[in-house]
Amino acid sequence: MKTFDYQRAESVETAVKAASEPGSVFYAGGTNLLDLMKAGVRQPDRLIDITRIEGLDRIETGKDGSLRIGAMVRNSDMARHPTLLAEYPAVAEALLAGASAQLRNAATVGGNLMQQTRCSYFYDRHSACNLREMGQGCDALDGENGKHAVLGWTKTCIAVHPSDFCVPLAALGAEVEVTGPDGHRRLTIDDLYTLPGEGQAPGTALRDGDLITALILPSGGKRFAARARYMKLRDRTSYAFAIVSAAAMLQIGDGRIKDARLALGGVAAKPWRATKAEAVLNGAEASEASYRKAADAALADAAPSGDNAHKIELAKRILIRALKSAAAGTPPKMPALPGSVFAAGKEAR
């Protein structure tokens, strides 16, 4: 990797100030950043180490009942936190369905939110990639693209967002706290990520120097705690990125769906909140027929970006599976294979 200056930040303010200089990047868990730097995809001039900043590693319940998770909380600590497990179980399940135990021990909440696509053309310096440098073109477009986007893509970029964790966050309408050169602000997960446009690469709404300091899980999300699942289809039982995944959260009464939250992973450049599908479900009978309608609605705008039409059908099916699993109830104990389709249980199949 390229040489860089290394600077330890003692506070959010000094971190943001240091990072306002062009070429600066925050260093936290390092699990995605060092990977990208080794590949030469990212070549920062300066790393601002934020691992020593006090207070960023706390999990606290806010006055409004929301759960505030500091950006430096490690993925494994968050997944094990009793409040998260009790109130937002699908988030815990998604965290544990991602990466490996070693990576989760190092990776932070902020870093997970900021991770980059695993599109192999993005990583390959000999390939054209608009995400790496706008204007190069996209070699994935006519290349090996069986795992690429089926929603929200343009010919500029067909990469998918790789995070599991962000999928239930999108469903919950979670927010991030950001401190930047211009002060503090809050963004929803949906607003944090930007889709590709024509001549516009996907990315985030963050600007130079912006630091995510915390993730806020809204108190309203707790009402789904009894029926919340994350389901991830993959071609290895563990330690593999999703082919497609889905988070489903339901409130059911008298056999009818009172409220539903849905999001898909592995289908677009951002975690994909399926609001149309939610609308189909609200007030509908809690039945497989309703879930099918919802899945059709969620993928109504989908189109293959290459040799990946199967992902549209699989996305529908994983969504139905997540809905049936959620309807069957959050398991009393985290499954041994979190997020695995093998952990769905008979009633969800």
């Binding site: 040489t3 290394y6 699990t31 060092l34 990977d35 180490d49 490996s100 135990a101 990576l103 021990n105």
Partner: protein
């Protein structure tokens, strides 16, 4: 940007002069300190061969900047045994033939030590399988690895009781 750092590894302080901040913990261990028990399998956090404990938690040393770990307590496979007495996980790996070529083994063992310490109570076989899935073994020694981790947690709880 040359810098001096000190790292605590297996209870011992190591003072190091780095030309710049680039070296990962893995490369510092292997190329600068000579603790070559920790292995490089992929250098990208995709295989687990480089697993070490940082403050008691298993992490991929290939994706950790050494400079960021000043003040941390780092344990490598060389620091696991108590003199001539093997750590129960090491003994269980030998007894259950939890390795063949041995290259992924230091990472498997450090990962198993981390895995057992992360938990209250015994893990089920399925929990072991999931919990150890961050460590690839190309020889396919997985049957022995699973048995070794199962055996090790028994050994450790028995030791704890005695």
């Amino acid at each position: 940007m040359a810098l001096r750092i000190s790292l605590k590894i297996n209870g011992k302080m190591h003072e190091l002069a780095l030309e710049d901040a680039r070296p990962t913990l893995l490369d510092v261990l292997r190329e600068r300190i000579g603790l070559t028990g920790t292995k490089k399998g992929c250098d990208r956090g995709q295989c687990g061969a480089c697993t070490v404990l940082v403050d008691g938690r298993r992490v991929n040393s290939c994706l950790s900047l050494a400079v960021s770990l000043e003040g941390a307590d780092i344990t490598t496979v060389e620091g696991l045994a108590d003199g001539e007495t093997l750590h129960p996980v090491q003994a269980a790996f030998i007894e259950n033939d939890g390795f063949q070529c041995g290259y992924c083994t230091p990472g498997q063992i450090m990962s198993a030590v981390g895995f057992i310490s992360e938990r209250d109570g015994h893990a089920t076989a399925e929990e072991i399988r999931e919990g150890m899935s961050g460590n690839l073994c190309r020889c396919g020694a997985y049957a022995g690895i699973q048995d070794a981790v199962m055996d090790a947690q028994l050994r450790m709880s028995n030791e704890g009781k005695s």
